[in-house]
Amino acid sequence: MKKYIIFILIAILGWTLAQTFKAIPFGADRRGDLSNPNKVAAYYLRQSPETLQTANSITAIVVNFRGFDTLGEVTVLFLAATGLASILYRKEEEDKTEVERVSLPSSSLVRTGAKILFPLILLLGIYVFVHGHLTPGGGFQGGAIIATGFLLMLITYKHFETNHNVMVWLESLAGLAFVLVGLYGLFMYGSFLQNTKSVGTLNDLISGGLIPLIYIFIGIKVGTELTNILDILLKIKPGREQ
C-alpha cells in the first residue's frame, strides 16, 4: 500500500517537473540586455572584464559579487568536518590499539608510482587554485585535487601520517585570513569583502584585486579540511562497539 502511494507521489512530481520545464525553453537567452544590464547575469558578465579585470567570470561571481555566500559555504564545510570528527570520536585513553588504514600491503609498483605522482598532484592542485581567476578552476577544485593526492599517499603507505598540528594551524590561519581580507575591505572601502580600486589588467597573473588572494586561502583551507575528513574516516576502528 505504502509502495503505491509513493509511486503516485513520484509520478505527480515527475509530471509537475516536466510541465514546469516545458515552459522554460532549452537554449533560450535569459540573461537580459547586455549593453544596458537589467538582470544580474548581464550585469556580472559586463562588470567582470570591465571593472574587475577578471578573465573567469564564474570566479568573479563566487569570490567577489557573492563573496559573503562563499564565506558561509566555507563555514558550512568547516562545521561538517567538525561534526564528522565529533561523531566518529573515540577516547584515546581507553583504547590504545593501533588502527591500520589498509589491511593489505601495497606492491612496490604502486608505492613507487604514488611517490612519483604525489608531488605532481600537489603541483596541479596549487596551479588550479592560483590560476582560478584566469582559467577554469579555483580554490574548491584545487583543494579537492590536493586532498586526492593525500588520499593516494594515505592508502598506499601504512606509516604515512599527516602532521595534525600543521593541518589544524594551516586551516585556521587560512580561514582567519579570509575574514581579515573581508575586514580590510570593510575598513578601507566601507563594505565587507569589497575589492580594491586598482585591479591590474585582464589576463595577468596578478589581476582582479583581492580575488586571487582569497581563492588561495580558500584552496589551502578546503585542501586541509578534506584531507582531515579522509584521515578521520580511514582511521575508524573496525568491529562493533557495545
Binding site: L13, A28, I58, E73, A80, L202
Partner: protein
C-alpha cells in the same frame, strides 16, 4: 560553429529531451531510492543521485544556444553576447562542495548507527536511544 547551430535548431526537441529528461529522471530515480530502500547506504546513494539531477537541471537552465564558456580572453572582451549564463554555474559550484560535506556527515552517522545497532537496515533500527 554554424553547422552546430543548424543541427541545434533541427533537433531541438531531441536535445531538450536528452538534457531535461535525463535530469528529471535522475531526480525521480533518486527519490525512489530514498523513499523505498531499507539500507541506509542505499538511501545516501539516492540522495547523491538527486543531487546530480538537480545540478544537471541548473546548468541546463543557464545554457544558451551556440554559447561559449563565460571566460574572457584578451582581445575578446566583447565576446560576452555569446556567453552562457554564469549565475547557475556559480550556484552549482557551491552546491557540489556542500553536497560532498553533507554526504560525508550522513555517512559518518551511518557508521555510528551500524556500530551501535549492528545493522544498517532501517526496519531493524527501532529504538531511538543510542
Amino acid at each position: 560553429m554554424t553547422d552546430f547551430n543548424e543541427l541545434f535548431i533541427k533537433y531541438k526537441d531531441l536535445i531538450t529531451l536528452a538534457v531535461y529528461g535525463t535530469a528529471i529522471m535522475l531526480i525521480i530515480i533518486g527519490l525512489y531510492a530514498v523513499l523505498l530502500k531499507k539500507h541506509l547506504v542505499k538511501i545516501v546513494i539516492g540522495l547523491s543521485i538527486i543531487d546530480a539531477g538537480i545540478h544537471l537541471l541548473f546548468v541546463a537552465v543557464g545554457y544558451i544556444q551556440n554559447g561559449t564558456a563565460p571566460i574572457f580572453s584578451p582581445g575578446y572582451e566583447q565576446a560576452a553576447n555569446r556567453m552562457v549564463d554564469p549565475v547557475p554555474q556559480a550556484l552549482v559550484l557551491t552546491a557540489i562542495v556542500i553536497g560532498f560535506a553533507v554526504t560525508a556527515l550522513a555517512l559518518s552517522l551511518v557508521i555510528r548507527l551500524y556500530k551501535h545497532h549492528h545493522t544498517a537496515n532501517i526496519d531493524q533500527i527501532k529504538s531511538l536511544k543510542w
